[in-house]
């Protein structure tokens, strides 16, 4: 099999995968924060917050990620003029577009992935025995303390494995950013397929192995962590 395209300076395979890693990294942090907030709202005593979080989760997770990402670029930016990167005179417009599309993609991934994080954390909250929360209430803790000091720390230890799955799914989902022209692995693969059509097996193997290398260790390491961290009951 001919892997000569790997030496071609036109194809920056490592750079493309690095883009996926960056997208995953920022989106993961954002989704963890927003997802936790959504989960807290879903179990909160304030009905309006519960209603909002439930509606948000049920709406957003049923829209294809592709639609969300494209809306970020074509609606949020093109139609509504929301800019996430600064555009200065004299600066290369392509650099602005790259930064802008990267940030829009991250925002889209956060909005989408948070719903899955929220659901995972909520099911983790359910694994904490009621006695824990009851004991906390009995010594006079408020809802915020019960959730923040007693329940969530135990819930997080139970949801490491489900969250690892969300992270793996997010890593794979970052390929959708190719829809708005973020130069990551799927877009590079498409370009290579067009230019080196006859080497499609070799191209597929390189790109697919890249994702196996990105996702496999995450599953193994976090699976091990989940085992160690789980609360033995």
């Amino acid at each position: 099999m001919d892997f000569s395209f790997l030496d071609d300076p036109r194809y920056d395979v490592i750079g493309a995968f690095w883009m996926n890693v960056q997208l995953t990294f920022w989106s993961a942090i954002g989704s963890l924060i927003f997802g936790t907030i959504l989960a807290a709202m879903r179990v909160s005593p304030v009905p309006l917050m519960r209603g909002f979080a439930t509606t948000y989760v049920n709406i957003v997770r049923n829209i294809p990620l592709t639609v969300i990402i494209i809306m970020m670029a074509q609606v949020l930016y093109t139609q509504l003029g929301v800019k996430l990167a600064s555009r200065e005179a004299g600066v290369n417009p392509q650099a602005f577009l790259d930064a802008q599309n990267f940030r829009l993609a991250v925002l889209g991934f956060i909005l989408y992935t948070s719903t899955f994080v929220a659901e995972a954390i909520r099911s983790g909250i359910n694994t904490v025995p009621p006695g824990q929360a009851e004991a906390a209430r009995a010594i006079g803790m408020t809802f915020t303390s019960v959730l923040g000091i007693i329940v969530l720390p135990q819930a997080f230890r139970a949801v490491i494995a489900p969250l690892a799955n969300v992270l793996i799914a997010l890593t794979k989902n970052t390929t959708v950013a190719s829809a708005i022209g973020v130069s990551e692995a799927a877009l590079l693969m498409n370009t290579m397929m067009e230019n080196e059509a006859d080497k499609y097996w070799a191209i597929f193997i390189v790109i697919a192995l890249g994702f196996v290398i990105l996702t496999l260790p995450v599953g193994l390491i976090l699976g091990w962590v989940a085992n160690r961290a789980s609360v033995k009951r």
Binding site: I63, P64, L65, V75, L80, F116, S123, R137, A169, A186
Partner: protein, 304 residues
């Protein structure tokens, strides 16, 4: 008097006041955000009737939206029909007692689960072209979806068979069934009813993933068709709102159907074959409650 949740007490006068204050603050924040969005829409002329009117024109529907929707449903249904038997075969293969079957099948399943669907589609497009000398974006979409969802369904099948009581295996061996007979006549039929809700909810994933076909392999599904329509009528925002609503309605209908199916199965089958956790949305279930960590892993992963 039972508290509404284990996390907080039944609100007394103080808590009620506090909750009322939080409600007001949150409502004000929400209204502010909505106000900001509406103002931004207004400023950019997105609320003009001219932009929304095409959504109610028959020609828009017959030219763009309905064919797109049909392509989406077509790709989803074909993929499901092919992925189910493949998933069953792979699932059974992974439980085989012969390691020369179990190991390769395990590698195949893990491989296709860790490669993004869009990568599989781009590859399938090229593979189809070089094999049959013509390009077919439908085939690319279907092959990509089948490879991925077949592998996910294999895990669902495996989890389903594992969730059956051990007595089923022991009883079938005791009456002298061969392993193939045991799998075909005893385990799979039972596992299938247990997994039915999970399989139906897998449809949601496939339906959403058809939209990936519009990005790189050029399959004109609902999203891509809507994109063309939007650039013709110059109404990107209204069109995307419309297709989002279509996707949400379709998927909620599927999820509700899966939930009803689960309830029905739970009623008719009793405790022995408690259905697997359908989805994280529908089920108020606890992680690992019924199906154990294996099933749970398959269930949470396949939702995305």
């Amino acid at each position: 008097m039972s508290a509404p949740s284990v996390l907080y007490d039944h609100p007394g006068p103080k808590a009620r006041l506090r909750n009322a204050i939080y409600t007001v603050i949150f409502a004000v924040a929400l209204v502010a955000v909505v106000w900001w969005v509406v103002a931004a829409l207004e400023r950019n002329g997105q609320l003009e009737w001219a932009k929304w009117k095409p959504l109610f024109e028959g020609q828009n529907w017959t030219t763009y939206l309905l064919p797109g929707l049909w392509n989406t449903i077509k790709a989803a249904v074909i993929s499901v029909v092919i992925a189910l038997p493949i998933g069953a075969i792979l699932g059974v293969g992974r439980m085989s007692e012969h390691s020369w079957i179990r190991r390769p099948v395990g590698v195949v399943v893990e491989f296709f689960r860790s490669v993004p669907v869009i990568i599989l589609m781009v590859f399938a497009y090229q593979l189809w072209f070089f094999t049959f000398d013509y390009s077919s974006s439908l085939a690319a979409v279907v092959i990509g979806l089948v490879l991925y969802n077949g592998s996910v369904l294999a895990e669902v099948f495996r989890a389903g068979v594992r969730s059956l009581p051990k007595g089923q295996t022991e009883a079938s061996l005791a009456i002298g069934l061969r392993k193939t007979q045991m799998m075909l006549f005893v385990l799979l039929p039972q596992a299938l009813t247990v997994m039915l809700p999970a399989i139906v909810s897998q449809l949601v994933v496939i339906l959403k993933d058809t939209a990936l076909g519009g990005i790189l392999v050029g399959y004109v599904e609902l999203r891509r068709a809507a994109g063309t329509s939007a650039s013709f009528y110059k109404n990107i925002l209204p069109t995307y709102v419309l297709i989002s609503v279509i996707y949400i309605v379709l998927n909620l209908a599927l999820t509700t159907g899966a939930g009803m199916l689960e309830k029905r199965l739970r009623r008719t089958r009793g405790k022995a074959g408690v259905p697997l956790v359908v989805t994280a949305i529908a089920a108020e279930s606890v992680v690992g409650e019924v199906a154990g960590p294996e099933a749970d892993k398959a269930m949470t992963e396949n939702q995305q």
